[in-house]
């Protein structure tokens, strides 16, 4: 059995799965249930000045039969009294001493407020802080949340205030509602943040009720942009994570990966791209805390299969696999192959290629079953047919190099080689 215990900025947890700062980590009752279910740690829902929430708060994007492919919320930071939160945090730490307890913070935008808040939380026995520089709704209008994270200079200033007071490790959570997460990430690291986490939620409109014309979520005939998360945002989160993991400044600190993590496989992907651990929210809100069981078991089995003894053995392994486009090998080429024994004759590959790609699939008419074959000389190897095929391993991509040697775009241009003629 592999060892899946995790150390993040010296904070121990039995596994790398933390619950992100969000409604599931708002109260003692939820957090205790999470720990009982096996979560490695929690980031307690953001503490700060008094707020009031509205009803309703969530909405979702469904895809086909799958509910909540994407999810958004307009909830603010914790709306419970600070003293109650602090008392419950202490109790949770005492009851589950082996789990990580991080507290998310968003003080008013001045040094004294941050210092005061940090002091109060340090007394709870919590193990670290996460600075909420990402909340995209409600708090931004007050100059907090994403309003801080979107401006590297403000973020740098706030981190400096925090580092003056904090004795516990500090993680800064980044907002994705920027052109690039790197400037703010850099500023925070340079200001002393011990770690980074990303991404927070993405500003969004999930949909509109076609009877009332009111977008979701509905609040008495109106709506606002909500923070988008869930499986739909994972690819965006992975991209942003990569830019942080590849930057020489931001890659110096541990990263906690967030954004659509639903399974152990998602977690492994985040970790391969440089995250030391992951935080989860939507998947738990969709299915309950029990999902952590398979996350731990799946991760363990995968590590055993790959021969990894501990998490550090694979963290970051894919970071250098993402390169610049102009460094890609133009001489690499592969073409699709349809396994006729597995083909179910649905025609999805054909119509996708014929209508929207390179007309590289032959259709031989049959009643009722057509036969589909690849025109290898036309196939550009785009993968579309393989992606739409409903049968596993029916369409495979077969390597057919143009030439044996590596050739990138810069060199290609330098040599004045011919462009495509189709």
């Amino acid at each position: 059995m592999a060892d899946i215990s995790s150390t993040f900025l010296g904070i121990q947890s039995p596994n790398p799965f933390w619950l992100a700062s969000a409604p599931p980590t708002d109260k003692k009752i939820n957090v205790l249930r999470a720990f009982e279910a096996g979560w490695g740690g929690v980031v307690w829902k953001t503490l700060g000045s008094q707020v009031k929430n509205v009803s309703s708060r969530y909405s979702a994007v469904n895809f086909g039969a799958k509910k909540m492919m994407g999810f958004n919320n307009i909830e603010l930071i914790s709306d419970r009294p600070l003293a109650l939160n602090l008392k419950e945090i202490s109790e949770c730490v005492r009851l589950f001493p082996d789990r990580a307890m991080i507290v998310s913070l968003m003080a008013d935008n001045n040094r004294e407020s941050w210092h005061e808040l940090i002091k109060q939380v340090e007394d709870t026995g919590a193990h670290g802080f996460e600075l909420n520089f990402g909340c995209p709704h409600g708090m931004t209008e007050r100059g907090m949340g994403a309003a801080v994270g979107q401006d590297p200079d403000i973020a740098r200033m706030v981190v400096e205030w925090v580092m003056e007071a904090a004795t516990l490790p500090v993680i800064t959570k980044l907002t994705p509602n920027v052109h690039s997460v790197v400037p703010t990430g850099k500023a925070c690291v340079e200001a002393g943040s011990n770690g980074l986490s990303l991404i927070n939620t993405i500003q969004s409109v999930t949909g509109i009720d076609l009877d009332t014309f009111v977008p979701n979520p509905y609040v008495d005939g109106k709506s606002v942009f909500g923070g988008y998360c869930g499986p739909a945002v994972k690819p965006i989160a992975l991209k942003m994570l990569t830019t942080i993991a590849q930057n020489p400044v931001t890659s110096k600190v541990p990263i906690s990966g967030i954004g659509g993590v639903s399974t152990w496989k998602d977690a492994v992907e985040f970790m391969l791209l440089g995250a030391s651990n992951v935080q989860v929210c939507t998947a738990a809100m969709n299915h309950g805390f029990r999902i952590v069981e398979d996350m731990c078991e799946g991760l363990n089995n995968w590590m055993d299969e790959k021969g990894f003894k501990k998490l550090e053995d694979f963290i970051g392994k894919s970071v250098d696999k993402i390169t610049h486009w102009e460094d890609l090998d133009i001489n690499y080429h592969h073409v699709a192959n349809i396994n006729q024994d597995k083909c179910i004759h649905c025609g999805l590959c054909y119509i996708a290629c014929e209508d929207t790609s390179h007309q590289s699939i032959n259709l031989t008419y049959g009643k009722p079953y057509n036969t589909y074959t690849i025109k290898e000389e036309e196939c550009v190897g785009c993968n579309l047919c393989q992606l739409v095929c409903p049968v596993n391993d029916c369409i495979t991509m077969v390597e057919k190099r143009v030439a044996p040697e590596y050739l990138n775009w810069k060199e290609f241009q330098k040599r004045g080689l011919p462009l495509n003629d189709h």
Binding site: A65, I344, C346, L348, I351, P368, V391
Partner: protein
Amino acid sequence: MAITNNRLTVDQYAENFSDIHPPFETKDAALTEANRCLFCYDAPCMKSCPTGIDVPKFIKQITTDNVKGSAHTIFVSNILGAGCSRVCPVEKLCEGACVYNFMEEAPIQIARLQRYSTEKAMELNWKLFERKPLNGKRVAIVGAGPAGLSCAHVLARAGVEVTIFEKESKGGGLMTYGIAAYKVTPAFCENEVNYILSIGGINVQYNQTLGKDFSLESLQQSYDAVYLGIGVGLARQLNIPGEQLTGVEDAITFIYNIRNNGFASVPVGDRVAVIGMGMTAIDAATQAKRLGAKKVTMVYRRTENEKPCTQEELDIALLDGCEVIWLAAPKEIIGEQNRVSKLVCSKMILGEPDASGRRAPVDTGETFTLEVDMVIKAAGQTPYYSLVNDAQLQHQDGKIKVDHGAITNIRGVFAGGDCVNGGKEVVDAVQAGKDGAAAILDYLNVS
């Protein structure tokens, strides 16, 4: 042993004849199934439907909350799409062709989804079609069965005034009178006919029989074109001794009585033999059992491999407790006091393939005897030979000969459905009606 009616209570009849393929109870249930559909291109299901319903499209439309569009997609290809969703042998048509079968997965429940959309359309009386302005053309159709109704609907949409002459008091033809009641109820058939006719421009004259109340010539004189969708109707005779005994009935009449007269009024024996293994034989056997017959035995002269019904249909009969004797041909019906008491059968073996390509049954000379009090003949139906012959229509053994799917030898007279093909599925008749309408519109120069 006796043949009697009123064997069961009202509740028992209701239970025995309740819908065998219940609809999706909820929208969620329909959506779950609709979302399984892969939305195939040039879909095998569509190509396996005689009317060519764009199945992937109508299913996709259910998933996008466009049920009205879904119903239109179905009806534009098959105006009896609601009825077909209940009576089609989908296991050998659309669902049999579903690509999920290659994945060893259950095929999409196409019929049930089709029922979902069409039922909603009928329930809410959606007006899905508009008629073009009248073009002054008038067409007579004989027979308000699937072929006639399908033809009439296409013609009405094109702005033609249609009059249908129907020998029964209700429309729907085989659908109303010739199919097991647990597949379609009389009330449903009536609703379906009314829904089809709601487009307007189709006048149905009921209780009008060709050759009795009017002639083909009279129609030719009064209308611009005539379409014959008269079906087949005569039960094939066994031509064996004892066929005239009391207690021998043909399946067509037996089912007609169930459909027309009400379950309780239809007499059935204690021990019933059903001759044949087609869909009608199954419908007769299962309904005899469901009317309260104690024992029903189906007798078929070939083996299970050659059976004309589908496995699903046979399974209904077997689940109903019907027994099956393969390789048995009726030889003689023996009576006591002019009432059926025994059925003597020849034991058969399979010989060389016959004209149908199936191995022909050969009499071994051995016999066996079944104790029965009722014999239902379901050995196929024959066309209205003399009606067709007397009308000077070219035919083959009474089946009207047509060119291009619908054009008879008499100018301005068209035909389709069972009276041409000798008896196929409802869905085949619907397509024949569409082909007939296309040929008529071409003949009348109506675009």
